[in-house]
Symmetry: D4
C-alpha cells in the first residue's frame, strides 16, 4: 500500500452524495479525504452532508483534514506562468501541503518577462520543483536549465487557437532541451503533487537508510 | 514587382541542369540568383555548368552575386538555439546578407542555458530579430519578451519523438505569450529573411517619407 | 520595457471586478488600459465599476483611452475575407488605432471574388498589412503576392467541418508560396496589431537614425 | 459497366512483369491499357516485354493506345500552381487525353502571382476545370471564383514543414469559400481526370437526350 | 457572374435582422434568396420581418422563391445512408430543387444493409449523384462502383468516438477506390448541390453547343 | 497458458541468427515455430541455419511445421479488397492454417465492384470472417452487413495521400455502422488470425461442454 | 437476416416520439425493442407514450422485453476499469443480457491496482470477455494476457487532457501486445455486446454441427 | 551548474570528427564524456580518433570513463517491456551507471504476461524506477500501481500501424490512472536517466541535511 498519500476522489461525473460518502469512508480509515475538481456549488452540497469539509475555490479542492497533522521533510516549490494557470498550480500546491509537505509558491513568472523569474531565483533552491504553464509552456525548459533538482512539468489547457487545449504546452514540455524534466497529463496538478511527494519521500527514506548506515559505522 | 529581393529557386525535385538554367536567367535579368536546399553534390554539378556560382554548405545555398553590391540600412540579428538548428539559421542569415542587409549572428543560446542569452543581450538591440529553434522552440518567447522590436520565429524540424518534425516548435511559437511574434513555416529560414528584409525596407521607406516631410517643413 | 504598446488584459476566465481593477491600475500608470475578448454583458458590469470605459461590441474590446492621444507615423491596412472574420479583423484594427497608429480597413474581399480585392488594390499600398481570413485562409497568399510590404496573416476559427477551428487557415498561411508572410495564432487579432505596431515603430526608429545620420553629414 | 474510361493499373508494388501482363490483357479486350506511377526504369523493363507501350516520364504514365482513337466532345482545362505540381497535373491531363477528351494546359499560375492567372483567363472558359496545387493550395478557390463551371481540385504533396505531405492543400480545398469545388485525394491526378471525363460524358448524354427530345418535337 | 445559382446566406453567427436584410436584397435583385443552417426559432424571427419566407425545418433552409420558377434539364439523385444524415441530404436536395433542378431522393440505404441500395438501383440512373453519409462513409464507394456518372460525396459529422466529427467519413470518401468521386466539406450539402448544379449546367451548355453544331451541319 | 496457438517471432529489428535461435527453441518445445514480417533475403539466411524452415514470400511468414499436424473444427473465411492487400490477407490466412484451422480465401472483392462480392456470397457462410482492406476500408461494413457471424476487420496501410498509412481504413472500420465488427491494428493479419482462432476454439469448447451436458442428460 | 440480435435504436438526435414509434414497430415484429443513449428525461417522455418500456439509468438503455425470454448458452464476462467507465460497461452487459446471454460483471479492476483483478481471476474463465477502460486503457492487454478466450476491448471517452476523448485508450487497445483482442469504437458498449453475442452464437452453431456429426458417427 | 551529471553529445547529424572533438573537451574538463545515438560504424570512426573510448552497441552509447569513478547512494531499477525496447532501456541504465548510480535491470516483463513482472517484484523495491515500453505502453501504469516510489515512464517508438511511432505509448503513459508517474519524450532513455539521477541526488542532499540537523540536535 502507498502510505501517506491522499486517496483522492475525482469529482467530475459523481453526485455530491457519492463524493461525500467516499470522503467519509476515507476519513474514517484515518486517511486525508480529498476530492478534486469540485465546483463551488458542488462543495455547498457536500458541506450540507459533511459539515467538517474544507474548500479552496481556486484549487477546486474539498477535503477533511487528517486528525493528526503530518509534516514531512523536504522543500517543494510550485512555479506558474500566468494568472490563468493558477487553478492547476494551486491544485498542485495545496495537494502537496495537505499531504504533509512544505510548499513555496511562485506565481506569474511567465517567460515573456524572464526578469521576474530571475529576480525570484531563490525559489528554485528546492528539493523538487513543479512548473505549471499553458499556452506555449516554455517556462519548464527555462526553470530546468536554472535549477539543479528534479522538475515536474504540468502543461495546462490555458490558451486558444493553436494551443489545442494544452497540446502545445504538453509537446513543448516533452521536448524540453533541458534534461531532468518529467511531464504529467494536461491540467494534472494533483498528479504532479503526488509525484513530487514520492520524490521527497524517496529522499527521506534514503536519509534514514544512509543515517543508520552511518550510525552503524560510528 | 517586388524589387531588391532575391528570386530564389527551391532546389528539391529539380535537376542540376534545371537549377543552373533558372539561375542563369535570373542573373542575366540583373537579379541576385539564389538557389536553396542545395546539397554539396548538387552544387558540384551546378558549378560545372555555371562556374561563377558560390556555395555555403552549412546554409545549403548556392548563388551568383549581384554585379553591383547593394547595402540597405537597418540591423537584423539572427539568433539560434542549438547546433543542429544552424543550417536553417544560416539560411536566414546568408539570404539576408545576399539581399543587401547587415546581419549579426548569435548561435547556441538555447533556453536551457538562459545565461548565454542574457550575456549576449546586446544582439537583441536590432531593428528586427529572427529566432530559430527546434525541439520545444521556447527561445522565441524569451527573446520576444526581452526585445523591443519585431520578432520572426522559425521553428525547425530538429528533435525526435514528440517533436513531430517541427510541429512542437511551431505550436510553441504560435502560442507565444509574448506578443509581437510572427511565425513562418518549419525550417523556412529563407522566408524569414525575406520577411525581415521587407520590414527593414518598410523602415527605409518610412524614413524617406518622413525625411522629405521634415525637409518640406524646413 | 516595451513602450507605447497597450498592456492588454485577456478577458476570458476573469471576473468583471478583476478586469476593472487591472484596467484601473494600467490607466493610473498612464498606459492605455485595454481588455480583450469582452462580451457585451461583461462590459456592462465593468462599466458599472469604471464608468469611463469605452466598448466596441464588434471587436469585443473595452478600454480607457490615454489621457493624451499619441499619433505614430506609418500606414497599416487591415484586410479581411468574410463577414464572419470581422470580430478578429476589428480587434486588430482597433487595437492598432488605440495604440496610436493610422488604420485603413478593407472588409469582405475573400478570394472567391478576387475582383473586389483587385478593385481596391490601393489599400495594399501601406507600410504593413494585416490579413484576416478563416475557412481556407487563401487571402494571405494572394495579398502577399500583390503587395510590396510585410504581411501579417491572422487565421480565424471561422468555418466548419474540415476547417478544424482554424487549423486549415493556419496551415494555408504557414505554407504560403508568397514569401514575406508572418503568421500569428488563430483569432489573434490583438497579437497581429502589436506586431504591426512594432514594425511601424521599427520604421520610425530607422527614420530617426537615418535622418540624424543625414543631418550629421549635412 | 463504366464504358469509355481507361482501366488503369496502379503501378507501385507491382513487378514490371505483372504490369505488362495486365496491360496486355486490357489491350486485348480493346480497352486503353494505362499504368500509373511508373518510374523510368520500370518503364524500360515493361517495354522489353511489351514493345508497343508509350511513356511520359513527366506524368509517369505508361500505355498502349487504343487501336481506334476516340474523340469525345467537351473542353477540359488543367491548371496548375507550381513547377513541382507538374507530374500530378500532367497525370491528369494525359489521362484525359488518352481517354478521348480535348485538354488545354495552363501551368505555373500560382496565387502568389495572380496576374499570370488573370492574363490567361480564357483557359477558364471550359466545360470542366481541374486545378492542381500543393503548398497552401489556394489556387482552387481563386479559380472557382472566376470560373463558371465545375471545378475539380487536386491537392499535391508538394511542400515541406507544415504542409504535412499535402494535408494543408487538402484542407484548403475542402474549405474553399467558393462553392462548386469537388476535391479528390492528394496527388490523385488520375482520379481527377476520370471524374472530369464522367462530367463531360454526362454532358454528352444530356445533349443526346435533349437533342432527340428537340428532334421529336420538331 | 455565375448565373442561375442561389446566392446563399450562411446563417450561423448572424442575427435574424442581418439575415432578413441580406435575403431581401437578394430577392430584390431577382435572385433566389436562400439562407442555410437556420434553426426553427431563428426562422420565426426572420418571418416576422419577412413574412414571405418559406422554411424547411429538416434542411434548416429558409428562402424566398424566385418570382418566376426556372426548370433546368438534367436528373440529380441524392442518396443518403442513415436517418441522422437527413438534414445534410435534404439541404442538398432542396438547394438543388430551389435552384431549378429535378431531384430524386433515396434515403436510408446505408452499406450495412446493401440490399436496400441494390433494390433501388434505378435511382443511380441519373446525370449526377450526391451521396451523403456519416460514420464510416462507405456508401460513396459502393455507389460510385455501381453508377456510371459523376458522384459528389458529402461526409457528415454524424457518429461518435473515432468518427471525429466527420473526419472518418471524409477520409473514407477521399480514399475511395472507385474513381470518379469528388468530395466536399463535412456537412456541406449546400456546396454539393451547387457543384451538382454546375455539372448539369455544363451538360446543358454542351447540349446547346453540340445541337447548334449539328444544326449547322444539317 | 494459451495452448494451441503459435508462438510467433516478430521479425523486424532482429538478426537472422536471433530469429533462427528463437524458432529452434519454440520447435523443440513442440510448438509451431512461426516468424512474421520476414523478407526473402532474411529467409535465405535463416534457412542456412535452420534448413527445415518453410517460407511464404507473399505472407512474409517463415515457419517450422509442427511434428504432428492439428486440425481444429470450424470454418474461417479471409476476404480481401485489393491486390495490394494480399500480403496482409495471406499473413492472416496462412497463420490460421498453420494453427490448425481450415481457411477459405476470397481475394479482390473491393466495394467499388460490389458484384464480385455478391457473386461469391457463399464464402460469407463461415463461423468467423476476417476482412482485409486498405484505402477506404469500406469492405468490412458491407461484409458485416451481409454475414451472420463475427467479423474481424484488418485495416491495411495500402493507399496514398489521405489514407495516412492505414489511418483512413482504421477509422472506417471502427465506425462501421454494421455492429459485430472487431478491429485489430493496421496490417495486423497475424493478430486477426489469433483472434479468429480463439473464437473458433471458444466454439469448440462450448461444443464439448454442451455435448457433455446433453450426454449427461441422455 | 441476423436473427436473435436486438434491433437497436440509436437515441441521440431523435425525438421521444420517433424513438417510441420505432420501438413499437420492433416490438410488434416480435423483436426485442432496444433504444440506446437515452437520458432519464427522454425516458420519461417515451414512457408516457409506451408505458411498458423498462429503463436502466446507468446503462442509459430503454427497452420492451421480448414476450418470450430466450436463453442462449455460453458465458460472457464484462470487466471494467474505473467507476466512470460503468455506463459503457453496463450498456454492454445489459445489451448482452437482453439479447439472451448470461453475463458476469467485474467492476473497478483498473491496472493501477492489479491485485483486485488477480483476486478475481475466476471471472476471466469465460467463453468471451468484454473489457471496458478509459484513460490509458491498459486493462485490455493485461486481461488478454491472463485469459484464454477472445477479448473484445471497448475504449471509453473517460479521462481528460491527453486522453483526447478516448483516443489514448483506443490506441492502447489497438496496439495491445497480447494477440487475440478485437477493438470497437470509443464508448461502443452496445457494439461490443453484439460482437460478443455473435461469437457465442458461432460457438453454439459449431456445437450443433459437431454434435450432429458425432451423433451421425455414433 | 549541474554537477555530477554527464554532459552528453547528441550524435545524430554530427560528424565523427565533431563528436570526438567535443568528447575530448569534456574529458579534459574532468567530466564523463558521453555521446548518445552512436551507430557501430560511427563508433569505429570515433575510436580511430580517440582510442580510449568505450562503446555499447545495444545502448548506442560511446564514452570515455571518468578518471576517478564516482559512486552515489540510492537504488534505481530499469524495467522494460519487450526485446525491441532494449536499446532505449539500456541507454537509460548505462547512462545512470556511468553517472555513478547503481542500477538493477529487469527486462521483458511486458503486461501481456503479467506473471513475469509479479515474480520479479523485488526489482520494484527501489528509490526510483524507470519503465520503458513501446506499443501500448501499459507497463508504466501496472508498475506504478505496484511500486511505492517515483516512476519515470519512457515511451518507445517500437510498434507499427496505430502505434504512430511511439505516440500511442506516450498517450498511455500520460493518462496513467496510477498517480506518481513522470513521462519523458519518446525513446528518451538518456533524459530518464538524468531525471532519475536528479531524484537520487535530491535524496542524498536531503539525507545530508537531515543528518546534520540530527547531528546538531545530538
Ligand atoms: N485531479 C486529479 N487529477 C488526476 N487524477 C486524479 C485527480 N483526482 C483524483 N485522481 C485519481 O483518480 C482516482 C480516483 O478516481 P475515482 O475512483 O473515479 O474517484 C484516484 O486514485 C486518484 O489517483
Ligand atoms: N486578444 C488577445 N490575444 C492574444 N493575446 C492577448 C490578447 N489580449 C491580451 N493578450 C495578452 O495576454 C496578456 C495578458 O494576459 P493576462 O495577464 O491573463 O490578462 C497580455 O500581456 C497580452 O499580451
Ligand atoms: N494514379 C492513380 N490514382 C488513383 N487511382 C488509381 C491510379 N491508378 C490506378 N488507379 C485505380 O486503381 C485501380 C487499380 O488498382 P490495381 O488493381 O491495384 O492496379 C484502378 O481501378 C484505378 O481506378
Ligand atoms: N539521447 C539523448 N536524448 C535526449 N537528449 C540528449 C541525448 N543525448 C544528449 N542529449 C542532450 O542534448 C544536449 C546536447 O546536444 P548537442 O549540443 O546537439 O550535442 C545535451 O545537453 C543533452 O542534455
Ligand atoms: Mg536543471
Ligand atoms: Mg518584444
Ligand atoms: Mg509581397
Ligand atoms: Mg465558379
Ligand atoms: Mg461510377
Ligand atoms: Mg453481420
Ligand atoms: Mg488471451
Ligand atoms: Mg506507485
Amino acid at each position: 500500500l502507498r502510505t501517506g498519500f491522499p486517496e483522492a476522489v475525482w469529482g467530475p461525473g459523481k453526485t455530491p452524495e457519492q463524493i461525500a460518502q467516499i470522503m467519509e469512508q476515507l476519513h474514517q480509515r484515518g486517511s486525508l479525504a480529498l476530492a478534486t475538481r469540485i465546483e463551488a456549488q458542488v462543495h455547498e452540497q457536500i458541506r450540507r452532508l459533511l459539515p467538517q469539509v474544507q474548500y479552496s475555490p481556486l484549487a477546486r479542492l474539498c477535503w477533511i483534514p487528517r486528525a493528526q497533522a503530518i509534516a514531512y521533510p523536504g522543500q517543494l516549490s510550485v512555479i506558474s506562468a500566468g494568472t490563468a494557470d493558477l487553478p492547476v498550480a494551486e491544485e498542485a500546491a495545496l495537494t502537496a501541503e495537505l499531504s504533509g509537505f512544505q510548499v513555496k509558491r511562485l506565481w506569474d513568472v511567465g517567460v515573456a518577462g524572464i526578469h521576474r523569474l530571475l529576480q525570484n531565483r531563490q525559489a528554485l533552491q528546492a528539493d523538487v520543483l513543479i512548473v505549471v504553464a499553458g499556452m506555449e509552456g516554455a517556462l519548464a525548459s527555462v526553470v530546468a536549465g536554472l535549477a539543479n533538482c528534479p522538475v515536474i512539468a504540468v502543461p495546462t489547457s490555458i490558451g486558444y487557437g493553436a494551443s489545442f487545449q494544452g497540446l502545445a504546452a504538453l509537446l513543448t514540455m516533452l521536448n524540453s532541451c533541458a534534461a531532468g524534466v518529467g511531464v504529467v497529463n494536461i491540467d494534472n496538478g494533483f498528479g504532479a503533487a503526488i509525484l513530487a511527494g514520492q520524490i521527497l519521500r524517496c529522499g527521506q527514506q534514503m536519509a534514514t537508510r544512509l543515517n543508520s548506515a552511518t550510525a552503524d559505522k560510528a
